[in-house]
């Protein structure tokens, strides 16, 4: 049983709070995301909103290029697919790396609580739930 940390398990996540200073992080069971690929982007121009916010530098005006768009290959136009979408992706967390990033250490009790809760079955259910959203 961890004594340095408060651990609360949920359906697809574990909340971990360090008692001494309240530093806290909720960890999901798995990385799940949707790769949407990319499309060719056009120029982003300075707008009146930029002007009102005083964000247009000297020498520039509304309508000038703020962020240059992609260089378009022959036959391509803005909005065409630049990189094809891969769809749903998933990846396991490296818990040693995650705990070190968040808490600066790998507490054995915390790691055990996380890894024992995030079974393969739970992770599979989480992925299914994410894709259904």
């Amino acid at each position: 049983m961890a004594t340095k940390y408060e651990i609360t398990k949920h359906e697809f996540s574990v909340d971990v709070r360090r008692i001494s200073d309240g530093h806290s992080c909720a960890f999901m069971a798995k990385k799940v995301w949707k790769d949407m690929g990319s499309t060719y982007q056009g120029d982003v121009l300075y707008t009146t909103q930029h002007q009102n916010d005083g964000l247009i530098p000297d020498g520039k005006k509304v309508g000038d290029v703020f962020i240059p768009g992609d260089t378009l290959p022959e036959g391509k136009k803005v909005g065409d697919v630049k990189v094809a979408a891969k769809g749903w992706q998933e990846e396991d967390f490296d818990w040693d790396a995650e705990l070190t990033r968040v808490f600066g250490e790998v507490d054995a009790d915390v790691k055990t609580a996380i890894t024992s809760h995030f079974t393969d079955d739970l992770k599979a259910k989480y992925v299914t739930a994410e894709k259904a959203k």
Partner: protein, 218 residues
């Protein structure tokens, strides 16, 4: 001294019996003349006023298992469990420095805030940009379960927390992308293209502030 006078002063009263208590109509008995049993066995406490309880502590066993119903309006100065601390945000694209990330949790209401700075570009594509690492899991009871705002150079909008999640989503006002339809179809979140904007500006413009209040799972 006569015989009568002598007997009068030596009279002990020991032989005086059968006097009814009704004959005692004045004066006060000394405490020592009253036995403790005569008080504790015959006193009636059934009508004792609670105002007489002026010291001591009621034993737990004297309280009923089901306390009397009282109006919540009478419960004042109640303490609610609360905690404060920091958290560790992470954004899935580009490089960022998080200068401040704090939370306060009162009961099941959590308010998070963070102040962060873009440092470098990385990655490409139109994937939704999300901030992970919320301090507590959100309540699994429909989305959204929390809402707030963010502000930064050339971009601002709303933050949202969905159900059963540890992620903070961003819905940008930029180019009018502040509608739920876009959230559903495109992710409605910062794209990498929008997030890259600070890199075109001076360092003073590379800062963002975000806050959100949401209901936690426990």
């Amino acid at each position: 001294m006569s015989t009568y006078e002598g007997n009068r002063y030596n009279f002990s009263g020991a032989n005086v019996t059968g006097i009814p208590t009704s004959a005692i109509s004045s004066g006060t008995f000394a405490d020592a003349r009253l036995s403790s049993s005569s008080v504790t066995q015959h006193v009636d406490l059934s009508n004792l006023s609670a105002s007489n309880l002026t010291s001591g502590t009621m034993p737990d066993a004297r309280f009923p298992a089901t306390l009397p119903a009282v109006s919540g309006a009478n419960l004042t100065s109640m303490s609610v469990a609360s905690s404060v601390g920091s958290w560790s945000p992470s954004i899935n694209f580009h490089g960022w420095n998080f200068h401040q990330a704090k939370y306060v949790k009162v009961g099941r209401i959590c308010h998070v805030s963070c102040y962060f700075q873009w440092t470098s570009s990385s990655g490409s594509g139109d994937d939704a940009c999300q901030m992970t690492g919320l301090p507590f899991t959100s309540w699994n009871s429909g989305s959204p379960i929390g809402q707030g705002s963010f502000h930064g150079s050339y971009d601002q909008g709303q933050t949202m927390v969905m159900a059963n999640s540890t992620t903070l989503d961003f819905m940008s006002d930029y180019n009018g992308q502040r509608v739920l339809n876009e959230h559903n179809s495109l992710g409605g979140l910062w794209t990498k293209g929008k997030m890259i904007q600070p890199s075109y500006l001076g360092t003073e413009y590379r800062y963002f502030y975000a806050e959100c209040t949401y209901i936690t799972a426990s």
